[in-house]
């Protein structure tokens, strides 16, 4: 295990605690509400976000395949990592479109506890996706320059798996529950 991998594993552990705290607050707030979601607030786009979830999962699968091929350093690896990053960027872009629509419909941070929780939980995840995207772009650059080390690539993959694996749980809690 390289120091890069160990560092990211510790980072992911702290991030898991961060999101566990957010989810706990969300669940307690939701359990205390008489009606959830509040009747005067817009409904979340469940179907569109399900499609977006599939996009992010596909990104994780592509990076997993890239990781499996990394030992052979095949030419396909060069193509898979940018595609994984592109799908991650598409996820963030679609989330942004969704947020703009929700804000237009009246769901804001201050419109209700529902809105506050939605933007904090989903927004925190979106920030992590952006950080992961930056890491993937860095990996892509190193890859094309032939300077990508195995430890760095593995560390970025672990972070991206965390970001991808967390989203279905958040989607289920915030959109479906």
């Amino acid at each position: 295990m390289t120091s890069q991998v160990l560092g990211v594993v510790i980072l992911v552990a702290t991030e898991i605690m961060f999101f566990a705290g957010l989810v706990s607050a969300f669940l307690i707030g939701r359990a205390g509400a008489r009606v959830w979601p509040p009747p005067d607030q817009p409904r979340l786009p469940v179907e569109a976000t399900a499609l977006n979830t599939a996009v992010l999962l596909a990104s994780g699968i592509l990076l997993y395949l890239a990781g499996r091929r990394s030992e052979a350093w095949s030419r396909r690896l060069h193509a898979l990592v940018p595609w994984a990053a592109a799908l991650g960027a598409l996820f963030v872009a679609l989330q942004g479109v969704e947020w703009v629509r929700l804000i237009r419909f009246g769901l804001t941070m201050t419109s209700s506890t529902y809105g506050g929780f939605f933007y904090v939980v989903v927004g925190a995840h979106a920030l992590h996706v952006l950080a992961g995207l930056l890491a993937l772009l860095w990996v892509t650059r190193l890859l094309h320059g032939g300077r990508l080390g195995d430890g760095a690539f593995r560390a970025v993959r672990i972070f991206w798996y965390f970001v991808v694996g967390l989203w279905p749980a958040l989607y289920g809690l915030v959109y479906l529950l």
Binding site: A13, M17, S24, L27, I28
Partner: protein, 79 residues
């Protein structure tokens, strides 16, 4: 004349008891103590989860680290 150091344990004990018993009437959090039965149950479950999760993760990281640093057995040469 009594030495002041003898009074210290009594004062410390009294102070400790006051700290333990004093906050009891202040359990007024609207979620933890004034909420519905459902929110109390969720509060309990998430409290347990938040307590167990870090210990579980530390254990998992420890096991993973030990496994990854364990020297591999040399392959047996059959025949």
């Amino acid at each position: 004349m009594e030495r002041p150091t003898r009074r210290r344990p009594v004062a410390a004990l009294s102070g400790g008891l006051a700290l333990l018993l004093g906050p009891a009437p202040a359990v007024a959090c609207s979620v933890c103590y004034g909420g519905s039965e459902g929110s109390l149950l969720v509060y309990f479950i998430t409290g347990v989860l938040m307590s167990v999760l870090p210990l579980g993760m530390i254990a998992a990281i420890g096991v993973w680290y030990l496994r990854s640093t364990r020297p591999r057995r040399p392959a047996r040469a059959d025949g």
